[in-house]
């Protein structure tokens, strides 16, 4: 177990390991996305009140869920970077930020598109929506902060602090619909008790959430590999690897 964690910190080993992982993850992600999308968008029944417009849930909810989970990945990598000063953690944090930003943006845009016909407004300054917008700015802030420093070690440290401080936003987003009066509806999927969404609509949704988790992992790994290639462009192990191919 510990040797595995130690190996993860080694760029050459991680580059090889992630290559194998990507080769497996890519077909799994594509299959899950295709099956989930066809099931959710074509097979699942329409909603009794919203008709077909509810189907945006199959993009909106997975993107939002993984955007929140992705932030924890980034913040955890930030903590590891601050405490153990592992370069791999910096790479993970840097690679997670743009992916999270895109997922958050997808959640906001699909939410607006759904909000117009359902609520009657594209945008409402509701607790859930506003805290989600803050999440987008946190992700973009980490990207911008990292680019603002010439010294990448200092950049990683500043980004780690920002992502750790921003972590408080995640439970706020999650619980915003329960703590305050908001326009956004409370959670339909419940971990305890019966979900407020019919099982014929729930299963494709869960599948799509799983697919988005895989998509996040895949893009994160690809992003990290690109980052590693750039950071180690002059290293011996990379030259050797390129030489082998």
């Amino acid at each position: 177990m510990w040797t595995f964690i130690h190996k993860l910190g080694s760029p050459p080993w991680f580059f090889g390991f992630s290559g194998t992982l990507v080769r497996w993850l890519l077909p799994v992600t594509v299959t899950l996305l295709l099956v989930g999308a066809v099931w959710g968008l074509l097979v699942a029944p329409p909603d009794f009140r919203q008709g077909n417009s509810y189907r945006i849930i199959y993009i909106h909810v997975p993107a939002a869920v993984v955007a929140l989970a992705g932030y924890y990945v980034m913040a955890f990598a930030g903590a590891v970077s601050l405490i153990w000063r592992i370069k791999m953690a910096d790479v993970t944090m840097r690679a997670a930020a743009p992916v999270g930003a895109v997922l958050t943006a997808i959640a906001l845009v699909t939410g607006a598109i759904w909000g117009k016909p359902t609520w009657g407004a594209w945008w409402v300054w509701d607790a859930r929506i506003t805290s989600m917008l803050i999440l987008l700015f946190l992700y973009l802030g980490v990207v911008a902060l990292f680019e603002a420093y010439e010294n990448k070690t200092a950049a990683a440290r500043a980004c780690a602090v920002l992502s750790l401080v921003g972590m408080v936003n995640i439970p706020i987003i999650y619980k915003s619909v329960d703590w305050w009066y908001s326009l956004h509806q409370p959670a339909s999927i419940k971990f305890t008790g019966e979900s407020a969404i019919d099982s014929s609509m729930l299963y494709p949704l869960l599948l799509m959430i799983l697919a988005f988790y895989c998509l996040f992992a895949l893009t994160l790994l690809l992003n990290m590999r690109a980052e590693l290639l750039w950071n180690h462009r002059d290293s011996g192990w990379l030259k050797q690897l390129v030489g082998d191919i």
Partner: protein, 150 residues
């Protein structure tokens, strides 16, 4: 664990805890502003300001919707099952606006306590189900041969 790392771990933990506490206190202090709307009970009790625009949220009272014959004026009552507030709105209502459903109306209160709304939003609940299931819950069967859409 190496003492330096242990110190850093404590520092990181403190950072997370303290920033959470700070933001938690701010959110608690601003809770009235974070709430999107006032429930009818607060409006009737006079807790909502009357000199500026407010949002009122609740359920549309069954049988309270009255539509004008000549223009787009609609009046209805909004309730939280404790108190009710009348609302007048002139404009196009969202698709999901219906009796017994959630609504958020933005506007100003007049002297009689009626909300003159400039915008009405439908508040969707967390229930999603196919039309057949909804019909079964109502104790009716869905009409055959045509898609059941709201």
């Amino acid at each position: 664990m190496h003492p330096v790392r242990k110190q850093r771990l404590i520092l990181v933990s403190l950072m997370v805890v303290l920033s959470s506490a700070a933001i938690g206190l701010v959110a608690f202090a601003l809770r009235d502003n974070i709430n999107l709307f006032y429930p009818p009970a607060d409006v009737v009790a006079g807790k909502a300001p009357t000199d500026r625009s407010i949002r009122l949220g609740g359920m549309v009272v069954e049988g309270s919707i009255e539509r004008s014959e000549t223009d787009l004026d609609t009046t209805f009552w909004v309730t939280d099952y404790e108190a009710s507030v009348p609302v007048r709105f002139s404009g196009i209502l969202p698709d999901l606006f219906a009796e017994g459903e959630g609504v958020v109306a933005e506007g100003t209160l007049d002297e009689s306590g009626m909300l003159l709304a400039t915008q009405v939003l439908a508040k969707h609940d967390e229930n999603y189900m196919p039309p057949e299931v909804a019909a079964a819950l109502e104790g009716k069967t869905a009409p055959q041969g045509q898609p059941v859409l709201p």
